[in-house]
């Protein structure tokens, strides 16, 4: 018992991350975040492969291959045996697969490292690729595409359709889970050859964090070095269609409410001064799951139309399940995105206009001095919540490696929040955000009605069950006729059953 108490008492030293970024060390192929007193060890092994590498007709292959590693048998242990061995350790491993990255990650208490390590290593170096595992994983993926994504969360559906629309025709043009037809076609041979090309010793970055001892890193490097050699051919960043005015996709389904997502490509990535300036502007407009978000104030707080409204300048998958940004979903091409959570069907057009109106106002006028001051003050401390654990810090350190940031992005972000000026921020808004182009995705029951409203730019007056303050009423009159001009050929109506086919 003494041992137990002692180790646990030290657990929080992981939080020495208050000074974000200290102690993370990077070389070309290794990223470490040592936290001496952390009783756990964290692994993140980054393979430079993602859904952008899916061969045509095999969309979803990167994701399924990663699942075959983390949710399948190895040459030494059946999947059942793996689960049995991991269970008492309260440890597991899993993978995140995004457009450009596959990261196999896991965390274990130091006491259990000896039992855990060979299992974790085998997952990457000795997969069995059994047909039984593939059948199970494919079936789960198909259930996700055909049922869960199409029917159980209109918000996630809307976002997936948005990304597919913006990046259509590029390697980013499908979600990582793939398409129904392509997933059905994936065979064990597909998985084996994909693994052979991309899961090589020359295509990975080792990430290690927590209270590991000095020998573990060299052991891990040596063991992963036993993977075959091979450097896959790099893929150019996608070139989206560019700024092409307003376009809308309306997904028709029996939805109880109307979900809206919209976005437009931006030409900037984290690490540059302008990115941090834009991040301050974006935080003001729509800090994720935060009442400081201006969109939230306008649409939810003053009008009660929905549960929340946010904006982003980086990809933010599974937003409904997170409070802070994810790690290891880096991309070389990002979009500016606004997320309007489901609103009552008769308020859909109004909410869309309200968000676009706020966006235009930001683009044209920038932030005020007060908005800027409050937001930078907020961010300087709030950013500390982005990476409170060793695992999160290791994730950020890997991302720094992806973006080629020499120090720490989060430390830089905090510093920039202190030094950037209002002029810097407003200049960055002018340079990188533009009004006049937006890919809009609406998930709605009355798709035809929405189509006609958009095509005719018809007024969308709003009514409430209760009287609103005069200032809100007056603003509503402007929002109701705020011009969002789309010609009928720029609006596509798609039945939900056609999505992800």
């Amino acid at each position: 018992m003494n041992t137990l108490t002692l180790t646990a008492a030290l657990v929080c030293s992981a939080l020495c991350s208050m000074t974000i970024g200290e102690a993370s060390v990077k070389t070309e192929n290794v990223v470490v975040v040592p936290v001496k007193n952390d009783p756990t060890v964290c692994f993140r092994i980054w393979f430079k492969v993602g859904s952008q590498n899916d061969p045509g007709g095999k969309e979803g292959l990167a994701s399924i291959t990663a699942a075959m590693l983390t949710d399948g048998s190895t040459l030494r242990n059946s999947y059942e045996q793996i689960l049995e061995k991991l269970y008492p350790l309260a440890a597991a491993y899993d993978a995140t697969v995004s457009a450009e990255m596959t990261v196999i990650y896991g965390r274990v208490h130091k006491d259990n490292l000896g039992e855990y390590y060979p299992l974790f290593l085998d997952a990457m170096t000795a997969p069995a690729f059994s047909q039984q595992d593939l059948d199970r994983i494919k079936s789960q993926t198909l259930n996700y595409l055909e049922n869960t994504l199409r029917y159980s969360s209109d918000e996630e559906l809307g976002k997936a359709v948005l990304y597919n629309a913006i990046f259509a025709g590029t390697p980013y043009g499908h979600i990582a889970s793939g398409l129904v037809s392509s997933v059905k076609s994936i065979t064990l041979d597909d998985v084996r050859s994909f693994y052979k090309i991309y899961f090589t010793r020359d295509n990975l970055v080792v990430g290690l964090g927590g209270g590991y001892d000095a020998t573990l890193l060299s052991r891990l490097e040596k063991d992963l070095g036993k993977l075959p050699a091979g450097k896959p051919r790099p893929i150019d960043p996608p070139v989206p269609a560019g700024l092409r005015g307003f376009k809308a996709t309306i997904v028709e389904k029996d939805a109880p409410a109307t979900a809206i997502s919209m976005g437009v490509p931006i030409d900037i990535l984290r690490g540059s001064k302008d990115w941090y300036a834009l991040a301050i502007a974006n935080s003001w407009l729509g800090e994720h799951r935060n009442s400081s978000s201006h969109l939230y104030q306008v649409i939810r707080e003053a009008r009660g139309l929905n549960y929340g409204d946010y904006s982003y300048i980086e990809n933010f998958p599974e937003a409904g399940r997170r409070t802070v940004p994810p790690q290891n979903v880096c991309r070389r091409q990002q979009i500016f995105e606004m997320w309007i959570r489901p609103v009552p069907p008769d308020a859909g057009h109004f909410a869309l206009r309200a968000a676009l109106r706020e966006y235009r106002h930001l683009v044209e006028n920038g932030l005020t001095k007060e908005q800027f001051s409050l937001t930078r003050k907020f961010l300087k401390k709030y950013i500390l919540n982005y990476a409170p654990t060793t695992m999160a810090r290791l994730g950020y350190a890997i991302d720094d490696s992806f973006y080629g940031i020499p120090g720490s992005h989060l430390a830089q972000f905090r510093a920039m929040a202190g030094t950037l000026t209002l002029a810097d921020v407003n200049k960055a808004i002018k340079k990188h955000l533009h009004y006049g182009s937006m890919e809009i995705v609406v998930v709605a029951k009355d798709a035809k009605g929405f189509h006609d409203e958009l095509a005719g730019d018809l007024p969308s007056p709003i009514t409430y069950g209760t009287k609103k303050p005069e200032v809100v009423q007056n603003e509503d009159k402007e929002i109701a006729v705020f011009p969002v001009k789309l010609s009928p050929e720029d609006i596509t109506v798609v039945p939900v059953t056609e999505i992800f086919r």
Binding site: T5, L89, Y151, S153, G304, Y307, F378
Partner: protein
């Protein structure tokens, strides 16, 4: 394996165990103010960071009045609408200016308000939090506007088949206890919320009282200094808690069964729910049940291997044994690939229960569960927020955190025979409600 749905993991602590007499590795300081407000401070190494939880021991369980389901959660939203001193937008700007991560949650037995922030802002946080708990003030339009946000929250969730299933199972299983409804509430009650302004004022007076609230303050703090500030700002808070008269559920007499249609497309989901017992570390059957769920249906169980990995008839399978203030449902949930397999899966679940009733569990498996519980607990105490968030449920159930040790000590003593007894006591037809959800869309 990933859980079927986050909503089904009713409590993180379900199915854990440990062997310590003092499982929590931090020193705990507890003080009760003369007005009944309990203050629990836990210093831990967390350079500069503090988690501040105000735990109200009221949840959807307290919604005893007809037509008021969902009100505890609605009220959680109203707590962000401010006071005369700090009106909503001013409260928001205070929280924003200190860069706090602030939010709240409500479930059956609890409404908790939590902030994570830098220790230098502690007094400001205590000031604004104590202010809204004592002096909440909002007008009718603000109240009615917020009801729209609640409806929005309902709408975003109602497309999830597990939410539809949960609503049906509770409604069918319970007759009088308020666990009959979900925390978000029935849609008809959410629709009527804008009319309940006066009721909301009364709700605040009844439940937002010092005797019904516990402060959990964890992180880089000095307990004496914190207590001094808490006394300064909370001592004027008047007593007046009126416990709601929650009716206990009478014994069920026979199995109940039902079906529910999900408007979208989904694989069928089978939910076998059994009336359990309230959280009570002294109840050996209850404590054993909290490990039984995982032993019988977890990812190392025979049925999981057979139905999920080998035969692949189910897409997900899990048991949930929640720790709650009153009698909850112990649930076994399976998502099934083919409609025609539903009876077979139900039969397999019943056979598994029968075997746990008849045969003692393997000692090594039981030891494995205990070991897992110990490490799962230890690995998840690495931020003040995680520590406070985990303890908040014990506070909701018992009013303090003494039960943490009692529970983990009892778990360490669970024997194979205890598990058989729990299987025999709870997983019987007269406690059972079976619901099958099927998708309507083709």
């Amino acid at each position: 394996m990933k859980p079927i749905a986050a909503g089904l993991c009713l409590l993180l602590l379900a199915g854990s165990s440990a062997m310590a007499e003092t499982i929590l590795p931090y020193k705990v300081h507890t003080t009760v103010l003369p007005n009944g407000l309990k203050v629990i401070t836990i210093p831990m190494e967390s350079p500069g960071l503090v988690a501040y939880y105000s735990v109200v021991r009221t949840g959807s369980r307290d919604e005893v009045e007809s037509g008021k389901s969902g009100f505890a959660h609605f009220f959680e939203h109203m707590m962000f609408r401010g006071t005369k001193k700090y009106p909503g937008p001013v409260y928001d700007s205070v929280v924003t200016s200190i860069g706090a991560s602030a939010n709240a949650f409500t479930s059956d037995d609890i409404t908790a308000y939590h902030l994570n922030f830098a220790v230098e802002d502690l007094e400001k946080v205590i000031e604004v939090e104590s202010d809204r708990f004592q002096n909440l003030h909002y007008d009718l339009p603000a109240f009615q506007t917020e009801s729209g946000a609640i409806y929005g929250e309902y709408r975003k969730g109602v497309t999830n088949p597990f939410e539809v299933l949960d609503e049906k199972v509770r409604d069918l299983a319970f007759d009088v206890h308020t666990y009959k409804h979900t925390t978000i509430g029935f849609e008809r009650d959410i629709k009527a919320m804008p009319e309940a302004y006066d009721y909301s004022l009364d709700f605040f007076k009844r439940f937002y009282r010092p005797e019904n609230v516990v402060l959990l303050i964890v992180g880089d703090i000095k307990p004496d200094a914190v207590l001094k500030l808490v006394k300064k700002y909370y001592s004027g808070w008047q007593k007046g808690y009126e416990p709601s008269s929650v009716q206990q559920e009478p014994p069920q007499k026979a199995e109940r069964a039902g079906t529910v249609a999900y408007p979208g497309k989904t694989l069928p989901i089978l939910d076998m729910a059994f009336k359990g017992d309230a959280f009570d570390p002294a109840n050996a059957d209850f404590v054993a049940a909290t490990v039984l769920g995982d032993l019988a249906f977890g990812e190392t169980s025979d049925i999981y291997k057979k139905l999920y990995i080998q035969e692949q008839r189910v897409d997900a399978l899990q048991a949930s044994i929640p720790l709650q203030r009153d009698m909850p449902l112990f649930e076994i949930v399976a998502r099934i690939k083919k409609d025609e397999d539903i009876p077979l899966i139900q039969d397999e679940i019943l056979k598994t229960i029968a075997s746990f009733q008849a045969t003692p569990v393997d000692a090594q498996r039981l030891a494995g569960v205990k070991k897992r519980g110990r490490y799962e607990f230890l690995m998840n105490l690495d931020t003040p927020d995680k520590v406070a968030g985990r303890l908040a449920y014990f506070v909701a159930n018992t009013g303090g955190i003494d039960a943490v040790d009692a529970y983990y000590t009892a778990l360490a003593k669970v024997t194979p025979e205890d598990i058989m007894n729990a299987a025999k006591k709870y997983f019987v037809p007269e406690r059972r409600t079976i619901v099958v959800l099927k998708g309507a869309a083709k």
